[in-house]
């Protein structure tokens, strides 16, 4: 993985000093609440319902075991013993005390981490495919490019006060596991007809109040120009994006109001003026960056069948919580953070420490964060999966549900977030209680349920096969349900099935939607495909049919 050099170290250390001084001035009354707000947001610090919330960047989801131990130590020392992994490969702490935040940032800096630009109207954490480098379906490992973009975006002097937040996702595989089509900019590594690798650039995707799927701005960008092209996109956005209405300030609204053609014309003409300037990426730089992401020292192994002859629980876990690796004899292993009785994405300090230890023992000391709010070990020898499973199972980290109905993506909701209308964690729990029969859940196959506590859509509900949105109706929590969304390469926005339902009725409504699927699916057809084939009507009719939901 990337290791900081003296410049990176200096910058994060100076950032801590800057924020320490800003916090001191605020606490001394020299900076008003409003002035301080603009500064703290750029360090990932929100003031939430209960306490400040600190969001720490995990660039493209990659962590060393030492970094994870530090995250655990911070959870124990400064928080209440846990952290929440988010849909953008960050971790959030819900209970830090403001005067201690500079100390937390200093502890992070010591292990080459930071909270720079994890909130505020600036370029946010660069996210990527959690299977980067190990998946057989990849053209090229996207992580060197993520790091190149991360450095360009960090403390960017021109783009730190944008109209609104700006999210970039990078993928190197045709299967989009980074939800890049619902990002402000999606960067796809592609090969042109001459066989050269370069980038397809998309812009204008996003969720929130106005969900839009990103559109292709440029089909093929030679690799040397990645940063200059991004700079051109950002410059057009910084100059032209709306600043009069927070809800219309994302780049997706600019792309839509100008039209794709005119937006492209403006970006390209800006880019023409800067493309051969200082942002040109030399091949030597790419090679140097790539050397940080060289494959680990894999052993020469044969494929094995570790599940053969084992008990049912291990076989189920192996089937759902591990996936294919491009190197023979290895397997990707997911750590499910979706236990029925725990908020999706939460991990305790002890769990994080155990995961760090298991990473050292079984996966070259590295851990990854998936945007689905699970963790994973990317490089596990198949023969070690049984031992690893036992260790995970003993810590409640082996719920065999990856990619199934109960692997729910979920924002922190009303319990922690000052924006939310509704408690999403509790609804996730109700769904887990209702669907506790694994045979049924497994029979449903690949199914992606996403839940947000408000319009800001942190839980990506628009692109869930089943999406759940918390809404406020006269002070009560209600839930609007959508179906047919997808965050993959076939991205689509879900359709609202009808009036929102009461909290207690959410599981029953989902059960009815699933009944339609089970009755009418073709063999091997996913829920998403059945829904796309049938349309929303039969699902809607069943969901609201008498007798009223219990």
């Amino acid at each position: 993985m990337y290791r900081y050099d003296v410049i990176d170290k200096t910058l994060v250390t100076e950032r801590v000093a800057q924020f320490r001084d800003q916090t001191r001035r605020h606490l001394a009354g020299e900076l008003s609440e409003d002035e301080f707000r603009h500064l703290r947001l750029r360090n990932g610090l929100y003031i939430q319902r209960h306490a400040p919330m600190l969001r720490v960047a995990i660039p493209y989801g990659l962590l060393s075991s030492a970094q994870l131990r530090t995250l655990a130590a911070i959870a124990r020392r400064y928080d209440r013993g846990y952290g929440h992994f988010t849909t953008r490969q960050n971790i959030q702490y819900n209970w830090p005390k403001l005067p201690e935040v500079p100390d937390i940032l200093a502890e992070l800096a010591a292990v080459e981490m930071h909270a720079i630009q994890t909130s505020g109207n600036c370029i946010r954490n660069i996210t990527s495919d959690h299977l980067a480098g190990v998946t057989p379906d990849e053209l090229e490992d996207p992580r060197p490019w993520c790091e190149i973009i991360r450095q360009w975006a960090a403390l960017h002097p021109e783009f730190s006060y944008l109209p609104r937040k700006f999210k970039i996702a990078v993928t190197g595989s045709a299967r989009d596991r980074a939800a890049s089509l619902v990002h402000d900019v999606g960067v796809h590594i592609v090969r042109n007809t001459e066989g050269e690798l370069g980038f397809e650039i998309l812009a204008g995707g996003g969720l929130g109040r106005t969900p839009i799927i990103g559109q292709v701005v440029r089909e093929f960008l030679p690799r040397a120009h990645l940063l200059s092209y991004l700079e051109a996109v950002l410059r057009v956005y910084n100059r032209e994006g709306r600043r009069d209405n927070l809800n219309k300030a994302r780049i997706k609204i600019l792309v839509r109001s100008l039209g794709l053609e005119e937006f492209r014309r403006r970006v390209e003409s800006e880019w023409e003026l800067i493309k051969d300037g200082g942002l040109r990426v030399a091949e030597a730089d790419v090679a140097r960056m790539r050397s940080f992401f060289n494959p680990p020292a894999y052993r020469s192994l044969h494929e094995s069948q570790p599940a053969a002859g084992r008990d049912t629980a291990f076989r189920a876990w192996y089937r759902y919580n591990t996936s294919e690796h491009k190197v023979p004899g290895y397997r990707v292993v997911y750590v499910s953070l979706k236990r029925a009785d725990v908020a999706p994405g939460d991990a305790t300090d002890a769990q994080m420490e155990l995961i760090a230890e298991l990473a050292d023992r079984y996966s070259f000391g590295e851990v990854r964060v998936a945007h689905t709010q699970n963790l994973l070990f990317a490089d596990v020898e198949q023969e070690n999966t049984f031992e690893l499973w036992r260790a995970l199972d003993g810590a409640g980290l082996a719920t065999p549900n990856i990619g199934t109905l109960t692997d729910i993506i979920c924002c922190p909701g009303l319990d922690f977030c000052s924006l939310a209308n509704a408690g999403s964690i509790e609804v996730a729990k109700l769904i887990n209680e209702r669907f506790d029969d694994y045979d049924y859940v497994y029979d449903l196959g690949e199914l992606d349920v996403k839940m947000s506590g408000c319009m800001n859509a942190c839980g990506h509900h628009h692109v869930g096969n089943i999406g759940i949105l918390g809404v406020d109706k006269g002070g009560e929590e209600w839930y609007q349900i959508t179906i047919g969304g997808s965050a993959g390469a076939d991205a689509s926005l879900g359709t609202v099935i009808g009036p929102s339902v009461a909290k207690a009725d959410v599981p029953e409504t989902i059960a009815r939607l699933l009944d339609v699927y089970v009755e009418r699916r073709h063999p091997d057809e996913r829920f998403l495909d059945t829904m796309r084939r049938l349309g929303v009507k039969p699902f809607k009719e069943r969901a609201y049919a008498a007798p009223a939901a219990a």
Binding site: T10, E158, L162, R243
Partner: protein
């Protein structure tokens, strides 16, 4: 008491006046709004005085392209802590249009913005009195920057690591 500002790292008395601050052109250096400039351009050119002009965030720097050499000072107005259009104006003036005069940040300007403003080419800052003495240290908040910028001395290119 004349206005003080931070220019090239030093606290100095401002030798410029805004047109709104004087009874009429008195031969001294004057800062105009862009509307004052555009509505009376011929007269200002005929007067041949030392001129500056302030851009509002919505103004494109291209508006000044043909007249750039007539200005010894160009300013960008920052209406509040969140409007970042002035940063782009600064970079374009310095890097694309090669403006070499005084580039001034005015309006909501605080020490916490100075480092990025300076990297975008600004060299003078109208700060509140409460901050003006301590603000110059903010210019040294970071000892490097990742992006190539007009302050080439700070630019860190990947290959130079």
């Amino acid at each position: 008491m004349p206005r003080r500002l931070l220019r090239d790292g030093e606290v100095v008395a401002d030798d410029w006046r805004y047109l709104s601050e004087v009874q009429g052109p008195d031969g001294g250096p004057l800062i105009l709004t862009i509307d004052q400039w555009l509505s009376d351009r011929e007269r200002w050119i005929a007067d041949n005085g030392r001129l500056g002009v302030i851009l509002a965030p919505a103004h494109k720097v291209e508006l000044l392209a043909r007249d750039l050499a007539r200005f010894a000072l160009i300013g960008a107005e920052f209406p509040g802590p969140s409007d970042g259009r002035g940063y782009t104006q600064g970079r374009l003036l310095r890097e694309r249009w090669k403006f070499t005069g005084e580039l001034r940040a005015t309006g909501y300007v605080r020490r916490d913005q100075l480092f990025f403003l300076a990297r975008c080419g600004f060299n003078s800052f109208e700060l509140p009195d409460s901050e003006i003495e301590s603000a110059s240290t903010a210019l040294a908040t970071f000892s490097a920057g990742y992006q190539p910028s007009n302050d080439a001395g700070l630019a860190v290119k990947l290959r130079h690591r």
